[in-house]
């Protein structure tokens, strides 16, 4: 398949790097490759670059510079937030609260803590649009509760939780609030002060930055036990020589992404795609619309067509999408997110996700919109359910 015909709609998984970001990273491979922990000139230069990056990221979420710790990405930040807070607060209690629509890198550390470490968990239900009810959250908090972890913008259906309301509950109840903001970062406002967030996960490769780098915001005074013990980097919270070129790229990507016009552009594209695809008979949108949905997320149900087959057929035509269908999962189970939203297996298995980045082009959109109805027609023709 030649590049020209490719239309990439899986930016919710990862994105292509912005050339300006790549350019900003270049000097840190062969020239300014110092270790920020070294006292010499090269080390100092790396340290300066890192501090500047930290400042950029801190500002973008209204945090203090010292509250940002760099990590290897979203999974590490989520693990650090959950296991780190669980360990540091075990004297206080061993109960955690999360939702049924989290990313696996939140669900699995919690499962691990519950299975072998004596913690307990309450899973909050979500409504048919994927929203958590803050009142339900309040009811679930007990004297034993130490941490609440709720995803900010959902990776499958784009639901953006009302963090401000959630934060009011957790702050009032004196419980730590963590949010996985990998999908929402730079795509919807994040203000850790206003939203009363204590721990926040973000990463770089979802915003046209390099892979392998992310950060965790840890509110000043929050106790966290490190996962990595070693040379004491990152204020002893995350030892290991920092990925300096990655960090520089991450900051540049943040700077580039953090412009209202990008969000506007994606939102328009998203709404156009939703409008066009809903013209196809027997299709339905999964998740909310408008401001409460991530500007780059579309998740659509097409009756009678299994997701892996649809996604696979589209791929053959150069259109890259993703699906949470049972056939495409290793466990042969439908998406836990769609299921938690109350969808029956047929709907969950017949849905695909189309995700954009700020670099998605009109041409890609046109290509996809041209191909999709044809592919659907072919697959529906051979479906016993249509």
């Amino acid at each position: 398949m030649d590049e020209e015909q490719t239309a990439y709609f899986d930016s919710g998984s990862t994105t292509r790097i912005d050339s300006k970001v790549l350019e900003a990273m270049q000097p840190y491979f062969k020239q300014d490759y110092g270790n920020p922990a070294s006292a010499h000139k090269k080390g100092r230069k790396a340290k300066r670059a890192m501090n500047k990056a930290r400042e950029t990221i801190a500002k973008s979420i209204n945090a203090q510079t010292k509250e940002i710790i760099f990590t290897s990405g979203g999974t590490e930040s989520n693990n650090l937030a959950i296991k780190g807070a669980a360990y540091a607060n075990k004297e206080k209690g061993k109960h955690m609260i999360t939702t049924r629509i989290e990313h696996k890198s939140v669900l699995n550390p919690i499962k691990w803590l519950v299975k072998g470490q004596g913690y307990t968990v309450t899973y909050l239900e979500v409504d048919s649009q994927g929203f958590v009810n803050p009142e339900e959250l309040e009811k679930a908090i007990t004297d034993e509760t130490i941490l609440v972890s709720i995803i900010h913008g959902n990776n499958e259906v784009g639901t953006i939780q009302n963090m401000e309301e959630i934060g009011q509950v957790t702050r009032r109840k004196n419980v730590l609030l963590h949010t996985d903001a990998c999908q929402s970062f730079t795509k919807t406002p994040i203000d850790v002060e206003k939203q009363k967030i204590d721990l926040l996960t973000i990463n770089s490769h979802k915003i046209n930055g390099p892979k392998g780098v992310g950060a965790i915001y840890i509110k000043e005074g929050t106790k966290i036990t490190p996962l990595n013990h070693g040379g004491g980097h990152e204020k002893n919270i995350r030892s290991g020589t920092p990925n300096i070129h990655g960090i520089v790229g991450f900051a540049k990507a943040t700077e580039q992404a953090n412009k209202p016009e990008h969000v506007e552009k994606m939102r328009k594209m998203r709404d156009k795609i939703i409008e066009e695809t809903l013209k196809i008979p027997n299709s339905k949108l999964n998740g909310p619309t408008g401001e409460k949905r991530l500007p780059n997320n579309i998740n659509i149900y097409f009756k009678g067509v299994e997701g892996e087959a649809l996604s696979g057929y589209l791929e053959r035509k150069g259109v890259y999408t993703s699906t949470g269908s049972a056939c495409s999962s290793k466990k042969l189970e439908p998406s836990h997110v769609l299921t938690a939203m109350g969808m029956d297996p047929e709907r969950a298995n017949s849905s695909i996700r189309i995700t954009l980045s700020r670099l998605t082009t009109e041409k890609e959109v046109e290509h996809m919109l041209e191909i999709l109805p044809k592919v659907l027609e072919n697959l529906r023709k051979i479906s016993p359910l249509y």
């Binding site: 067509v305 087959a309 057929y313 269908s325 439908p334 297996p345 051979i382 359910l385």
Partner: protein, 127 residues
């Protein structure tokens, strides 16, 4: 998508036996308890129990669609007794290969086939 052989992809993209037979003498439908997929096999069987024509409709993954098509191709011209002897292994081999996670998809097609043949036998034993 999962890694599939050329043959599997070809069958999936352009199945030769997709569709249904209006004047069918036998139909078999099965659902997959594994992942919720549905397969329907239509057969046209003559007096000598030879399968003249086989068609399918499948709601399922790439492997499921490709296997259905392959199974229909394999049974055309065979007697029902011969058709019943086709194994999952044989289907997988004919497709070049299938990832282990997808083996159950070809089994599903065979189950639909068996059901269709049984459906035919029942109809004819009561007549």
């Amino acid at each position: 998508m999962t890694e599939y052989t050329e043959e599997t992809i070809k069958r999936f993209e352009d199945p030769k036996h997709a569709g249904k037979i209006e004047e069918t003498t036998a139909v078999g439908q099965v659902g997959n308890t594994m992942c919720g997929d549905v397969m329907k096999v239509y057969l046209e069987i003559d007096e000598d129990k030879t399968i003249k024509k086989a068609r399918f409709k499948t709601y399922g993954c790439i492997a499921a669609i490709a296997s259905s098509d392959k199974i229909c191709e394999l049974v055309e011209g065979k007697t029902t007794d011969e058709a019943l002897k086709i194994t999952e292994k044989q289907v997988i081999k004919e497709l070049g290969d299938l990832p282990p996670l997808k083996h159950h998809c070809s089994l599903l097609g065979l189950k639909a086939l068996k059901k269709a043949i049984r459906n035919h036998e029942e109809k004819h034993s009561t007549q």
